[in-house]
Symmetry: C2
Subunit: 619 residues, 2 copies
Amino acid sequence: MSLRSTLEFLLYDWLQAESLTARERFGDHSRETFDAVLDTCERIAREKYAPFNRTVDTQEPQFDGEKVILPQCTYDARQAYADSGMLSAAQDYKMGGMQLPYTVEAAANSFFAAASISIGSNMLTSGNANAIMAHGSKMQQQVFAANEFNGRWAGTMCLSEPQAGSSLSDISTRAEPDGADFEGDALGPRYRLKGNKMWISSGDHELTENIVHLVLAKIPGPDGKPVLGVKGISLFIVPKKLVDAEGRLTGGRNDVALAGLNHKLGWRGTTNTLLNFGEGKYPVRGSAGAGLDGAGGGAIGYLVGKPGEGLKCMFHMMNEARISIGMAATMLGLAGYHASLEYAQNRPQGRPTGAGGKDATRPQSRIIEHADVRRMLLAQKSYGEGALALNLFCARLVDEQHTGAPEAVDEARLLLEVLTPIAKSWPSEFCLEANSLAIQIHGGYGYTRDFPVEQYWRDNRLNMIHEGTHGIQAMDLLGRKVLMEGGRGLQLLAGRIDSTIEKAMRHEMLAAYAKQLAAALAEVGAATKAAWATGEAQEALANAVPYMQAFGHVVLAWTWLDVALAVLERDASLSMAANVGRMGAMRYFFHYELPRISAWLNVVRQRDMTCAQLPESAF
Amino acid sequence: MSLRSTLEFLLYDWLQAESLTARERFGDHSRETFDAVLDTCERIAREKYAPFNRTVDTQEPQFDGEKVILPQCTYDARQAYADSGMLSAAQDYKMGGMQLPYTVEAAANSFFAAASISIGSNMLTSGNANAIMAHGSKMQQQVFAANEFNGRWAGTMCLSEPQAGSSLSDISTRAEPDGADFEGDALGPRYRLKGNKMWISSGDHELTENIVHLVLAKIPGPDGKPVLGVKGISLFIVPKKLVDAEGRLTGGRNDVALAGLNHKLGWRGTTNTLLNFGEGKYPVRGSAGAGLDGAGGGAIGYLVGKPGEGLKCMFHMMNEARISIGMAATMLGLAGYHASLEYAQNRPQGRPTGAGGKDATRPQSRIIEHADVRRMLLAQKSYGEGALALNLFCARLVDEQHTGAPEAVDEARLLLEVLTPIAKSWPSEFCLEANSLAIQIHGGYGYTRDFPVEQYWRDNRLNMIHEGTHGIQAMDLLGRKVLMEGGRGLQLLAGRIDSTIEKAMRHEMLAAYAKQLAAALAEVGAATKAAWATGEAQEALANAVPYMQAFGHVVLAWTWLDVALAVLERDASLSMAANVGRMGAMRYFFHYELPRISAWLNVVRQRDMTCAQLPESAF
């Protein structure tokens, strides 16, 4: 099935996205306007992204000492995206947006992820501007966010440092009040920043006239030292070029310097950088009376929100950022699925097996006729389409959180807390595995750069690392999310799963799967309790990743069962091939995948300390 | 632990390699001569291979229209390898060899695989010459094999074609008797070959003065058409440059032309080629009376063995070829393990967790102190060292097959038949997973080309594809090997496993694992029967890969239990850190890995046809 038809089934038939148009915010929308957005994005992705996915892989960003050089296709793709209005699609009309539901925005953006994940980092610009909308002053919104939404400027997120990745509390970038200007100019309280930021996507380029960096840094305490831990972290807007309150580039270059490009395994179309803030390459003179001048001054930054709340501001955006990573992983998985399906349907290899083995007199088979190729295709389908369903479901929860009735808002918030680690980690792991299967189906050809699948696999490997590694997601899930509010999030999720199980029990075709899911859910519940039975975090979390893998598989099984219910509701006799396929992918998941949870939960339940306790000298 | 100490433990303490010196063929050898070989190879690998692994990845082979251009380091590495005598190490003294046991040869070659898997394809040259020794005439041995063993010439294996990879019976390269010369010259019956060969490693280069291609081709039947199926396939020696019976390059260029280089995901140091045979780029005139002349003649080839027995000759070499792929995958896994272990021991990140969460006042932890990093390290160790043990065990069986007592020879042969698909497939799959974990431990840095782990992962991805894909190995195992000789191979293996279980039952520390292994073995046995219960190959083989995965995990668990016995025999109190590590890796395997087999065997037992039966239109 095409990506478009899968998206439409999930959006309209399963998630009832059209019902959102009954809400005031989305009142001007209709199925037609949603489809128009999908049409536009599908077309731009097909014309401006997909044909250049290999180009941006081979023509990596170059730094000539002053500027970053990118291939022309990156400029064209970015321009087409900005022109489409997608950067501000979800924003209010008054910000120039179209008040599109996030669910539809996420679905539309998926076309770009499938066509070329690394050409654009447009999501970062939207995310950056969203953070400013949520936590910045009116003026910061008007100057910075508005110029990102309209496509004039791009945005970044500067969190990690060379020595601090997963452990953000250890960042050492400092922000000191800019002397007499501490009260700030119109753009907010002014600080001077010094430090290095690592892994900054789109950290420098000439795609836009300016770049708005959102930077985490520490304001020294009364003793002049940085405050320890996360409480010392604040958030700053640090533009590449200084601007005035009208958004004019009046102040010349800010002291943000590109220190180097990272040369990566994949995702090569995106300029990934090490940035130096305030090291004096582009010195900014202190303003009158600031007592600062010349090289030592630091990069100018404007505080966003309150001092010490930098991480809180960032975490506010984390759910959507993580869903978008999950979506990226998913779309790479589906891109590989579609490529390998096409290959399998066209490549002849081998002969049909008769009673006495292979029969050389019969015509060659296409490889889709071989059982193991079908297994690898169905695995990819069940991973990719299942992950897509889960991510769209999470996107739908975001809309619920923003526009639902009060009780629904709270439930959506809590469900998102529990589901986000899965929405991010599960596709990162299993759609990567899907990409490996896509290579395998291609045989030796899949191992060459003449076919797209090896690039999907390389690109996808990043998703288990960025925006919180697999290990971080697992600690978040088992160490925080399942415990928070007295376990209410987990109970809520279990309630939703039970409700699907109950409905599925009434279907002859689904009852056995409903039972299997109920048993699996009970197994996860028991393992959760057993993990925390001693109350010792070290024991509970020793096997947090296997726990997350099992949890994820149960969530995906639930997703597939719920999708199957939607299938049967619309097409009880399975008259459409697409629905036969959905039921097949669901069955695959229950037969081949869900039984895997026992091995994962085994070590969780037993609080197995084999790994944690092995002496370092024994490795 | 270093690779060397792991190798020595497995070779001497576990496999009793020294006992081989009691055999006549190895009578001149001793632990000292074995160690000297290991020393030499370890040194050459450290000096000539490891420093250039990234060089050969970035400076891919180039074709200037006439010649293949390779970096200097490839010449140097090849020369050092040839000078070491390793090309002929296992050969008779009279062939210039040192009559080294294959076990020690495989162990010694492992250093090169770990240092740079793709610099040399020396294994292909040895394998080629071994095939000629096994099936060629005396003259072919003296002219071709001897000049490969002494390093003058290199060798290739030309099996696949662009349209025929897994399905060798569909090759279309033709070999026609060379007219009046059919009786042949001194080098054997002469044929003219025409066709294209794909994926030929080291198919062209200037590293040696000549290249000896071993080529599968079809001799037309009486009707002038190629014989259908594998029975029509014969084996030919096709030298790049024509030679006389003294091995002199007297005849100029043979009509073997480089048609193109394959640009691969990894393994980039090896020149991988498409070769055209007999298409007229280097026309070879027919000999007097042959009635052939000019471009249309074809490349000259000499029949090896009997017509129609080409595949049989090749399969003779298959066990060793597949063990060497398993070894390559294993060493890449271990290379990643050692790199990520070193990184984990040196990279500070995060803080120790106290009662109230992370404690920012305490010094940073190194990442090896985090439980999930330890899990990822121990997984790699158990995959890599377990796979190494299995592959060395298989190498030891090859020696048994060559030099054991008659009954042992037969048992070794049969065990190898059953174990070879595992020795090849299991490391290809799980040491690839190990490489992914090595990347994960490095975080963002692991995703850059500044660290070696991403290359290991790319290089390793080939091993599930070449020398018989995963799917082919699985069909071989479940479709042929477990059935052959009335299931005697499987029974023999089960007997060996039972014997380990019996010994382990007597150890307090191992008894529980022995029981777990016994249950797992029974589960595999039952699944094997259930798979074939209907006698329908299509049902039995529908889940051949999950079967192979489970079978492999049982074999590895057995290997680890047997290694643990050797540990306890020598160091019952586990006074050495290395032995604590081995026991830890063994425990990891039984706690985290062996339980996975149930999910795999589930679908085998039920002869699940979900994938096989899904209509093509539903994908």
